[in-house]
């Protein structure tokens, strides 16, 4: 998965110098309806439900919607190329941490121009889509991460799902035996590694503005201790979230940190019984704070005011309660409107733990805005230094912060 992403980035990068207007910017459809282009990075199985939502919304607002799907990490390279050749799509999907960079470049229009203000949405969703206090992107459905455990392995060992750090360490140790680690997470040197570290850092009072604090060091120490105790594979420094999922489905890890986008794969794994709980907190009774994930929909500055207005309507429709329900059900993520999320919680027990997690989630870019990537790089660098035993957590965080 990571390799295909690299290939996609490389391919996308090669396209930048060839900023040739290769994409038609729309125009009137044959039926006389306006054609809106929409660009996203969805791939099967999540692609079909999104297409269905686009189509239904097109009918609602009286436009034909043409969707282009760009492979994962290639999206930003493509967007940059399009913004220099002035061929941006009418509606652009962006992963929420990328909204900052693209909004900063001036390529997006404020959603308030189209009467969209984010009322009724989870606070973190609005924060994640805002750049310098202005809302530019809104995500219809969001996700986060939680602790996913193998029900049968825990039952056989007589262990209840851990709620605190001490319980997690204890459970991970007891669940470790030859050929099976107790716990798995992603500690890779990409933003995925940072994303998985956030719940530990935030729940302990750590902050991304300054990572050189005892709170963050304690959080890192927890992960280091589990790796040193042998309850977690040393290879986590090379594992992306996909690798973590593979370890879990292969029965090589009894518990893992991962998100609801893996539910389809987990359901497809035969004979695997699993369940989710929020990520353990330092002490009992604390609120687990996880990072918010999800794709926002934005309206790029294409210059055509009337089409931008129509695109605004499309973004509003994609974020309507009805669309949110469709997307959440099909793609197993959480509606970003709190009221719709509550409905999903009662109707789908699988998603119920995530509704709580998302309600308490935090946007990664909320504090630092466009400077988040720099902090994220520092965080995974420090994590890698500590996990590989090169430095103590405190020393690693100190070095990374001053980098």
């Amino acid at each position: 998965m990571r390799n295909t992403k690299i290939a996609a980035v490389l391919a996308g990068a090669m396209m930048i110098p060839l900023a040739i207007a290769g994409c038609s910017s729309g125009g009137s459809g044959s039926s006389g309806k306006t054609t809106l282009t929409i660009e996203d990075y969805y791939s099967p199985p999540s692609l079909a439900p999104m297409e269905a939502v686009y189509k239904a919304c097109g009918t609602d607002i009286g436009a034909t919607v043409n969707a282009t799907h760009v492979p994962g990490a290639g999206l930003i390279a493509k967007v940059l190329q399009q913004s220099s050749s002035k061929t941006l799509p009418d509606v652009l999907m962006l992963d929420n941490p990328d909204v900052q960079q693209i909004a900063e470049s001036g390529a997006l229009s404020p959603l308030k121009d189209y009467g969209i203000n984010g009322d009724g949405f989870a606070p973190a969703v609005v924060e994640a889509g805002s750049y310098q206090g202005t809302l530019y992107g809104l995500a219809p459905a969001v996700n986060s991460i939680a602790l996913i455990y193998n029900v049968e392995i825990l039952k056989a060992a007589g262990i209840t799902p851990p709620k605190t750090w001490a319980e997690l360490q204890d459970a991970a140790k007891k669940l470790t035996k030859p050929g099976q680690y107790g716990f798995a997470f992603s500690g890779i040197n990409t933003y995925e590694g940072t994303w998985q570290f956030m719940p530990f850092m935030w729940s302990n009072g750590g902050n991304e503005k300054n990572i050189n604090t005892p709170q963050t060091a304690q959080a890192l120490q927890l992960l280091v201790d589990m790796v040193n105790a042998g309850s977690v594979s040393k290879s986590v420094v090379n594992w992306g979230q996909g690798d973590v999922l593979d370890q879990f489905t292969a029965g090589k890890a009894a518990m893992m940190i991962n998100g609801p986008w893996n539910f389809p794969a987990l359901q497809a794994a035969t004979g695997l019984k699993w369940a989710t709980v929020p990520i353990p907190t330092p002490t009992a009774g604390q609120t687990s704070i996880a990072p918010l994930g999800g794709e926002t929909f934005t309206v790029p500055q294409t210059g055509d005011k009337s089409k931008m207005a129509l695109a605004g309507k499309l973004v509003a429709c994609i974020n309507s309660a009805k669309s949110q329900e469709t997307i959440a059900k099909a793609n197993l993520n959480i509606p970003s409107r709190t009221a719709v999320a509550q409905q999903v919680a009662t109707s789908n027990p699988l998603l119920a733990p995530f509704v709580t997690v998302v309600a308490n989630a935090r946007a990664r870019t909320a504090e630092l805005g466009p400077d988040w990537p720099k902090a994220a790089t520092k965080i995974y660098t420090a994590e890698q230094l500590a996990l590989t035993g090169k430095m103590s957590p405190a020393a690693a965080l100190n070095q990374a912060q001053s980098q």
Binding site: V9, L10, A13, Q81, N189, V237, N238, Q384, T388, Q403
Partner: protein
């Protein structure tokens, strides 16, 4: 007039990107630039930022170790195989063509396979070594900062062998069999024949292989990204991965270009040597 197509090709596909890259190295070229078209001139501040970053010295050292290690390994094994294949034996041609396989595989695919082979817990390599009691505990090939660079070099050597064998084998074909017969009559041993006939005759070819090898290895990116992504803890971060990271992860294209410009200069030094080496046989 005959030069026009060649000239147009060079200007379009080599001149423009290189010049553009040089200019970008002096600009604050960010995501904003793509939308506004404005890239403020910042002089040498990209270079200052890059060179004063704590990662730069790590990357330079890693690049040097990666290049030297890969070249020595590739060349020695490549030469040994080329000499070996000079002998006539059954299946010689078949084996020689099989040797080209690493070259034919897409790098993304082979690095994914190597990642699996080198896995600490369930990788084939560790399992095999454990089975034969060569080691007692699994070697953390890709998950230890002390081993990762070695592992990446080993994979790159594997990757570079076909190139070395092919060119060196071609060079060996050019050495007349009569020389060896004459030497054998004079009572030369195999080693002496290699030392006094093969090596001197092969030297021009060997220099070409080495210089091209250095240039190819300096710019190696995909194999490192595929195996470790520059990690763990920046242990395999080279100038190319650093440049890639600056440009396509941080979207700071100015500093990314500055790093690749430094690489271009280093490569040009070796290209210059290559051209000199290539010219000499004609002069002689």
């Amino acid at each position: 007039m005959f030069l026009v197509p060649a000239l147009a090709f060079i200007v379009l596909f080599f001149g423009y990107p290189v010049v553009k890259n040089m200019i970008m190295g002096f600009q604050d070229y960010s995501t904003k630039t793509f939308f506004t078209g404005e890239a403020p001139w910042v002089g040498f501040s990209n270079y200052v930022a890059v060179i004063s970053s704590s990662l730069f010295s790590t990357a330079v050292i890693n690049t040097a170790l990666f290049t030297i290690g890969s070249i020595i390994g590739q060349f020695v094994i490549g030469l040994a195989l080329a000499v070996y294949f000079r002998r006539r034996f059954p299946l010689n041609n078949l084996l020689r063509s099989l040797l080209l396989l690493p070259w034919l595989l897409p790098l993304i695919a082979s690095s994914a396979v190597w990642k699996w082979i080198l896995d600490q817990d369930s990788g084939v390599l560790n399992q095999t070594l454990l089975f034969f009691h060569v080691i007692n505990t699994p070697i953390p090939w890709l998950s230890s900062p002390d081993m990762a660079l070695v592992a990446v070099i080993i994979v790159n050597i594997w990757l570079g062998i076909p190139f070395n064998v092919t060119i060196l084998y071609g060079g060996l074909q050019g050495i007349s069999e009569e020389l060896y017969e004459a030497a054998a009559l004079d009572g030369a041993t195999k080693w002496k024949a290699f030392r006094h006939i093969t090596w001197p005759m092969l030297r021009p070819v060997a220099s070409v292989v080495l210089v091209l090898g250095v240039v190819y290895t300096l710019k190696a990116l995909d194999i490192i990204l595929g195996l470790t992504g520059g990690g763990p803890a920046n242990a395999t971060q080279t100038l190319t991965t650093l440049s890639y990271h600056e440009s396509f992860v941080n979207f700071s294209f100015g500093t990314g270009a500055a790093i690749s410009n430094i690489l271009i200069v280093v490569s040009m030094v070796f290209t210059f040597i290559y051209l000199r080496v290539n010219r000499r046989p004609v002069d002689e």
